[in-house]
């Protein structure tokens, strides 16, 4: 297959991944690596490099809109970025020592968790009012816009959230993903931020986390321009179209489609890893 034909096919696949990820709000990154390795037989390291670059593009593009709307908690984001960037650098160092088969199994497990979480309905939890020592120290409590005006919220369990963010950073670098699911889990479940604030702040942080390991991988030769450019432009185009279609698309159908795609990817990644053919 020639470079041009391959670039067009990869861009189309990445476009669908970006579109699906953006419409379901689950991120396209987790689909890109399985797409590249399983469908296009790309080496895992090149796939991780290309995926990280495209994650930076979509995260920064979407974060721009959310930050301006006032959902993102910039202080929470910056504070937790300490944990995710250290995690990403640790993960990038570990990546050189972990075999492709182990990484493939880890990816499969994470895809199963993603498929499970994408099926679960999201409900807004009760906002906490308990004062927290660390949240007060770092002035993390804030407010966000709701249909009935600005609503105040308090933040808790900062150390727990910080620890989980460190893990999210490691996984982001090892697997070339945004780790959005873990980031949202840390903020929404542990730190009790409103769901919308958790998802937008997670998105805000994903670009910085990915940039930490992408910088290292660029030096290590994981980022191939011929592969990365159709992936990045495809994912970005899909994500931008998804943002415009949001609210008009059938999200239930898309979520089910996303779950099926992720589940198929999970089985294949697990199979390859466990049989030592990754």
């Amino acid at each position: 297959m020639t470079t041009t034909l391959l670039a067009v096919l990869i861009a189309l696949g990445s476009f669908c991944g970006g579109l699906l990820g953006s419409l379901t709000g689950l991120g396209g990154g987790i689909i890109i690596v399985p797409l590249l390795t399983l469908v296009f037989h790309v080496d895992l390291r090149y796939a991780i490099g290309a995926s990280l670059v495209s994650i930076i593009a979509t995260s920064s593009g979407a974060a721009a809109a959310y930050v301006r709307e006032g959902f993102t908690n910039v202080r929470v984001g910056i504070l937790l970025e300490v944990a995710t960037t250290i995690g990403a650098l640790v993960g990038a160092a570990l990546a050189a020592m972990i075999s492709k088969n182990v990484l493939s199994v880890m990816f499969g497990v994470l895809l199963i968790i993603t498929a499970y979480r994408s099926l679960k309905p999201r409900e807004e939890h009760e906002l906490t009012a308990e004062p927290d020592k660390w949240a007060a120290r770092f002035r993390l409590d804030s407010s966000y816009p709701t249909p009935s005006g600005k609503k105040e919220y308090a933040v808790r369990n900062v150390p727990g959230g910080f620890a989980l963010m460190f893990a999210a950073g490691i996984l982001s670098a090892l697997l070339g993903i945004g780790s959005g699911i873990i980031k949202v889990l840390a903020m929404d479940q542990l730190m009790r931020l409103p769901f919308k604030v958790s998802t937008t702040t997670s998105n805000f942080m994903i670009g910085v986390t990915a940039a930490a390991s992408a910088g290292v991988y660029l030096h290590r030769g994981y980022i191939d321009p011929t592969l990365a450019f159709p992936v990045m432009l495809g994912v970005l185009g899909g994500a931008l179209l998804g943002a415009r279609m949001l609210g008009r698309a059938n999200t239930v159908l898309l979520r089910n489609l996303f779950t099926v795609v992720v589940a198929i990817g999970a089985i294949q990644m697990l199979y390859k890893g466990l049989t030592g053919t990754a």
Binding site: V53, S60, T72, L89, G215, F229
Partner: protein, 131 residues
């Protein structure tokens, strides 16, 4: 969150608006450079048969920051693409640097320290490439 900083000009809201704009501009410029390089790459080498299934690692001219910029200046298509991707990686770094400036203007010591730490970690990875 405070609405106005100590000097009355740098409110959190104003900072957020600027951060949002900065991210948009960064992605736009990076995407434009990548598209230009990618189009040139396909025009010049579109008929080649690439192999991504075997990892060989990129040559030094596509991994060293100075070599990438030099190659892009010499209009080498793959170096132009790599330069666009480098600009993309630099966008969140610039965002953190800008946030640091905002916290300095707000004289927020705690967050100056936190943001500076994140910036140092990012620059360390990007400039030295070791983790």
């Amino acid at each position: 969150m405070t609405d106005t900083g100590p000097n009355g000009r740098w409110s959190d809201h104003a900072v957020e608006q600027l951060i949002g704009r900065l991210l948009q501009i960064g992605v736009l410029i990076a995407a434009a450079v990548t598209i230009a390089g990618g189009a040139l790459l396909l025009f010049q080498h579109g008929g080649a048969i690439p192999t991504f299934s075997v990892f060989r690692g990129e040559p030094e001219r596509l991994t060293s920051l100075t070599a990438i910029v030099r190659g892009a200046m010499a209009l080498q298509s793959d170096a132009i693409v790599q330069c666009g991707l480098l600009l993309l990686i630099a966008t969140p770094v610039a965002r953190v640097a800008f946030t640091l400036v905002a916290f300095v203007l707000q004289r927020d010591r705690t967050y100056i320290a936190i943001t500076a730490l994140v910036l140092v970690l990012l620059l360390y990875g990007l400039l030295f490439g070791t983790a």
